[in-house]
Amino acid sequence: MAILEVKNVKKIYTTRFGGAKVQALSNVSFSVEDGEFVAIMGESGSGKTTLLNILASLDKPTSGEVTLKGMNLSHIREKDIAAFRRDHLGFVFQDFNLMDNFSVMDNIFLPLVLSGKKYPEMSQRIKPIAASLGISEILQKYPYEISGGQKQRTAVARAVITNPELILADEPTGALDSKSADELLDIFREINESGQTILMVTHSIKAASKAGRVLFIKDGEVFHQLYRGAGTDEEMFQRISDTLTMLQAGGNMQAGGEIKAGGERQ
C-alpha cells in the first residue's frame, strides 16, 4: 500500500519583488510504499529541498497534489497543519535544528509536549529509543556539550518518538564525519527494518547505497530510479555512481521511459 503519493507536483518560486520566476520543480510524480527506505539524489539546485518542504507541508506546491496515507495535504486546513505535521511526520535535518535552550531529553520530548502528552508516558517512550540510539547517557546534557553525531542521533530520536508514518531527512549526514555518518545510516536501516518508512535526500553515494530505492532528480523532474533488490551495499554503490556519471554526461535516458519501463526492478 502506498503511504505517500506525489502526483505532477510543480513548484515555481517568485522572488519577493515580483521579479524573475524560478521553476524549482516542473513535474514530479512518485510514490512510496509502507516500510520503504527511499533516497533522493540530484545536483545542487535540482529542487530536492523544495520537494521535501512540500512533502513536509512547510510549503505548498504551485500545482499537483501530495497524499499521505490517503489524506491530501492541500485539503488540510491551515490551523491543523502544525498538528498534522507533528502527528504524522518526523524530521531530521542536515544542521540538526536542536534548540540550544533545551537539554537533549527535552529536545526529544518537544513534539510530545506540544501534543499534550503526560510526563510518565513520555519518559516511558524515550527509554527504548534512547537506548537503541546510544544516547541514554547524554540525555541531561545540552546541545553545545555533545558531538555532531550525537546531535544527529538526538534529532532522529525526536523524529521517531511520535511514531510518525513517515520520516523525512534532508542530507542528514551532511554535517557528520564518515564514522558518524555510517553509524547514523546503520540506525536508519535498523529503524527501517523495524517497519519505519524513511525518505532521505542526500548527496552522498554511500548514504544512498543503504537505501532500498534511489530516485534521481534533474531539472525538476524524477529522471531515473534504481531498486536495490537483493544486491549488496557495494553493488548498489557501484550502480549509483554509474548512474550519476551518466547523468552528468547529459545522459540520454528519458525519465518517462525509464519509469514506465519499471526502472530496473529485478
Binding site: K79, M99, D100, S103, P111, V113, L114
Partner: protein, 689 residues
C-alpha cells in the same frame, strides 16, 4: 600595507555595521553633550552671579562627576556588546591574513573615528543646547535671562580629554581580548552555543536578603537627619540586590519550576520556562540596569520636582512675614518673658526709625515652646522629650486664646479645660490631649493660625495648642518643666515672638533683599545696645536667646531648588536615553536568538501563530520586569524620600505622592513608546529571510 588602508578599512567597517554602530555613536554623542553641558554650566559666570550661584556650582560639579562615572560604565557596557557582535568579522579578517597587530590597528582607527565623531557632534550639540539649558536654568532659579552666547574652551578641552581617556581604556580592553582569543574562537564566538544557565542559589538568596535589607532600611528610618546617610546605604543594597535577583534569582526560580515535572511538561509552560531561563541569564544584567536607571529617574524627578513645585507653598509657611524674631527664655519666670517682650518692641521701634521703614501685618504673641512625645500606650498623653530629629518627637507651642484672637482676627472663646489645636505634618484628631498629666479637651482646630517660620522649617512635626488663658499656659509650662528637670531634659522655653512685613515710606512693600539685610543688621545693633543697658534697667539677658531671620533666604532656596530640579531633569534625560539604548541592543540580540528558535519550533510542529504567541509573551514579560521593579523600588523609597525632603523644608506628603505617581505614569508611557520603537528592530531581525 599602508596606513591609508587601515583607515579605509576602519571607516568601511563602521559604515557596514551601521545597525549596531549607530546607536553606539548616538549614545556617545549624547553622553558627551550632557557632560559638556553640565560642565560648562558649572563654570558659567552668569550663574555664579546669581545669589545661590555658589552652592549651585557645587551641585553642578557633582553632577559632572556623576555623568563622568556614568559615561565610563555605560560606554563600557555598550562597547562590549558591540565587540561581541563583531568578533566573527574580526576573526574572518584574521583568517584572511590580517595579523592581530593589523586588526589592532584597524580597531585603533575605528576608535579614533568614533571618538572624533562623538566629540565633535557632542560638543556642537552641547553648545546649541547649552544656551537653551542656561536660559532654562536661570528661569527656573527665578532669575533674568541674557542673550550672550559664550563658549567655554576649558570645558571643551576637559570633555575631549575625558572621553579620549574612556575610549582609550575601552580600546586597550578590546585589544587585550583579541590577543587572548584564538582565531577559531573569534570566528565562532557569536555562534557559540549558549551555556546552560546554572542557578546560583547563594547569589539569589543574597540578592533577596540585600533587597529586603534595603527596603527595610527605607521603611525603618524615622529620623530625617539620618535619612540621607541611610538612604545611601539602602540605595547600594537595592542596586546590588536588584542585579543579583534579576541575574540569579530569576534563573533559580525558573529552574525550581523546571524541576517540577508536571508543571514543566505542559505545552504552554515547556517552551517559555526554559526559554525564559536563557533570556534572563543573557539579559538579567541589562534588565537590572534598565530597572536601576528607571528607579533613579523616578527618584530624581519626583524628589526634585517636589522641591521645586513645593517651594512656593513651603516658602509661604517658612517665611510667613518678611522678618521674624524672638526672645526665648529657658528656665526663667514670667516676669522675664514680659520684660523681654517689651524690650523686643522697643528694639524694633528704634530700628524702624533708624532705617526709615514701617512694619505691617504684625504678629505678636508669647508662647510656651517644648519638645514632647506621645506615650507608647496612650497617643493622647504627651510627656517631655529631648529633640533628637526622630519623627516621633514633635515640637509643641502653647499660645493663649487672646493672642490667637488678636493676631488672626478670630473671636474664639474657650472654657478653662478646653484647647484648640493646629498641626503641621500631623493632624490631631483625638478629643482629648494631656501634658504632664494635665488633661484638656480638644474643642476644635485653630484655623488660620500662622505658625512660626522656624517651626515650619523644622524637620520635626509641630503642634500648636491654644489655651483659655495664661494660667493654663503656665500650668502646662510648669508641669512640663518639672518633668524635664526630673528627667534632665532640656527645659521648655517661654518665648516672646514678633513677625512683620516691611513697608518703605511710600507705603510699598520692601522687595530688596539688601534692604532686608540692612534692617536685620540694624535690629541686631539696637538689640546689643539694649543688652548693654541702653533702655535702662537691663533684663536678665543671660538666660535669653535672641534670634532673627528674614525672607531673603527664600530667594536663595528658590534658586537652589530650581537648580536641583534642572539637574534632575538633565540627568533623567541622560538615564532615560541610556535605558533606551540598552533596550535597543537587548531587542537586537533577542531578535537574532529568537529567529533561530522560530525556525526550529515550526519545523518540529508548532504553527507560526503559536510560535509568535509564546515568543511575544516572553518578550513582553521581560519588558515589564524592569518597569515593575522600578515601581516597587519607588514605592519602598517613598517614605524615606518624604523624610529627606523635610530637611529641605518640604513636608507636604500628598504633593510628593501626586508627583511620584505622575512621574511613574509619564515614565511608563515613555517606556512603552520606546519599547514599541525599539521592538521594530527586533521584528526586523526576526522577519529577515
Amino acid at each position: 600595507m599602508t596606513r591609508g588602508l587601515f583607515a579605509k578599512l576602519a571607516s568601511a567597517n563602521i559604515r557596514k555595521n551601521r545597525k549596531i554602530y549607530a546607536p553606539y555613536i548616538f549614545a556617545c554623542v549624547g553622553v558627551v553633550m550632557m557632560f559638556y553641558l553640565i560642565c560648562s554650566l558649572s563654570y558659567d559666570p552668569d550663574i555664579l552671579d546669581f545669589y545661590c550661584g555658589g552652592s549651585l556650582m557645587v551641585i553642578l560639579r557633582l553632577g559632572c562627576i556623576v555623568v563622568g562615572i556614568f559615561a565610563v560604565i555605560f560606554l563600557f557596557y555598550t562597547s562590549s556588546f558591540l565587540m561581541k557582535r563583531r568578533k566573527t568579522e574580526l576573526g574572518l579578517y584574521n583568517v584572511l591574513g590580517l595579523g592581530k597587530g593589523h586588526i589592532a590597528k584597524v580597531l585603533a582607527w575605528e576608535t579614533l573615528m568614533v571618538w572624533g565623531e562623538s566629540v565633535v557632534l557632542g560638543l556642537i550639540s552641547g553648545m546649541i543646547f547649552g544656551k537653551l539649558a542656561q536660559v532654562c536654568l536661570l528661569r527656573m532659579m527665578g532669575g533674568g535671562v541674557n542673550y550672550n552666547f559664550s563658549i567655554s574652551a576649558k570645558t571643551m578641552v576637559i570633555t575631549a580629554a575625558l572621553f579620549a581617556g574612556i575610549f582609550g581604556v575601552i580600546y586597550i580592553k578590546n585589544v587585550i581580548e583579541i590577543y587572548r582569543m584564538k582565531t577559531i574562537d573569534l570566528l565562532y564566538s557569536a555562534k557559540q552555543g549558549e551555556k546552560k544557565p546554572r542557578a546560583n542559589y547563594v547569589l539569589a538568596i543574597a540578592g533577596v536578603i540585600m533587597l529586603g535589607a534595603g527596603y527595610y532600611i527605607a521603611l525603618a528610618v524615622k529620623n530625617p537627619l539620618e535619612a540621607i546617610t541611610f538612604f545611601f546605604f539602602a540605595v547600594i543594597l537595592v542596586i546590588a540586590g536588584t542585579y543579583s535577583c534579576m541575574i540569579s534569582g530569576s534563573v533559580a526560580l525558573l529552574s525550581a519550576l523546571k524541576k517540577n515535572k508536571t508543571y514543566y511538561y505542559k505545552t504552554n509552560h515547556f517552551i517559555s520556562t526554559s526559554a525564559m531561563m536563557f533570556r534572563m541569564k543573557k539579559h538579567g544584567a541589562g534588565l537590572a540596569s534598565i530597572c536601576i536607571l528607571a528607579t533613579m529617574v523616578l527618584v530624581m524627578i519626583s524628589s526634585t520636582a517636589c522641591l521645586y513645585i513645593g517651594a512656593d507653598k513651603a516658602m509661604e509657611i517658612n517665611y510667613p512675614r518678611d522678618m521674624e524674631m524672638q526672645y526665648a527664655a529657658y528656665g526663667t519666670d514670667r516676669a522675664t518673658l514680659d520684660a523681654s517682650a517689651l524690650d523686643l518692641n522697643r528694639v524694633i521701634t528704634r530700628a524702624m526709625n533708624d532705617e526709615d521703614v514701617r512694619t505691617a501685618g504684625d504678629i505678636e504673641y508669647s508662647l510656651c515652646s517644648l519638645y514632647a512625645k506621645p506615650d507608647a500606650t496612650d497617643e493622647t498623653a504627651f510627656s517631655c522629650a529631648a529633640f533628637s530629629g526622630d519623627t516621633s518627637v514633635i515640637s509643641v507651642s502653647v499660645v493663649t486664646v487672646d493672642d490667637y484672637n488678636k493676631n488672626f482676627g478670630k473671636n474664639a472663646v474657650l472654657a478653662n479645660d478646653e484647647v484648640l489645636v493646629y498641626g503641621k505634618g500631623v493632624s490631631y484628631d483625638e478629643s482629648v490631649i494631656s501634658f504632664g498629666g494635665m488633661k484638656l479637651k480638644v474643642a476644635g482646630e485653630a484655623e488660620g493660625l500662622v505658625i512660626r517660620g522656624a517651626d515650619a522649617a523644622d524637620i520635626s512635626d509641630c503642634l500648636y495648642i491654644v489655651t483659655a488663658d495664661e494660667d493654663v499656659l503656665l500650668k502646662i509650662y510648669d508641669a512640663m518643666e518639672k518633668e524635664a528637670t526630673a528627667k534632665n531634659y532640656p527645659r521648655p522655653g517661654l518665648v516672646a515672638y514678633r513677625a512683620f512685613d516691611l513697608m518703605s515710606d511710600d507705603g510699598l512693600r520692601v522687595q530688596d533683599n539688601d534692604k532686608l539685610n540692612r534692617v536685620q543688621d540694624a535690629i541686631y545693633t539696637v538689640q546689643s545696645e539694649s543688652y548693654n543697658g541702653a533702655f535702662g534697667k537691663p533684663v536678665k539677658y543671660d538666660s535669653l536667646n535672641f534670634s532673627i531671620r528674614n525672607r531673603n533666604a527664600a530667594g536663595e532656596i528658590y534658586g537652589l531648588y530650581g537648580g536641583l530640579f534642572f539637574l534632575g531633569i538633565l540627568l533623567s534625560i541622560l538615564f532615560m536615553g541610556a535605558a533606551v539604548i540598552i533596550m535597543y541592543y537587548k531587542q537586537v540580540i533577542e531578535g537574532y536568538d529568537d529567529k533561530e528558535r522560530f525556525d526550529i519550533m515550526q519545523k518540529v510542529g508548532m504553527s507560526l501563530g503559536e510560535v509568535k504567541k509564546t515568543i511575544n509573551s516572553q518578550v513582553l514579560t521581560v519588558f515589564f520586569i524592569p518597569l515593575l521593579g522600578a515601581g516597587v523600588h519607588m514605592a519602598f523609597a517613598f517614605p524615606i524620600i518624604a523624610l529627606m525632603l523635610r530637611v529641605f523644608m518640604i513636608s507636604d506628603i500628598s504633593l510628593l505622592a501626586i508627583i511620584t505617581v505622575g512621574a511613574f505614569i509619564a515614565f511608563a508611557l515613555f517606556y512603552i513608546v520606546s519599547y514599541l520603537i525599539t521592538s521594530r528592530a527586533y521584528y526586523k531581525v526576526v522577519a529577515a529571510e
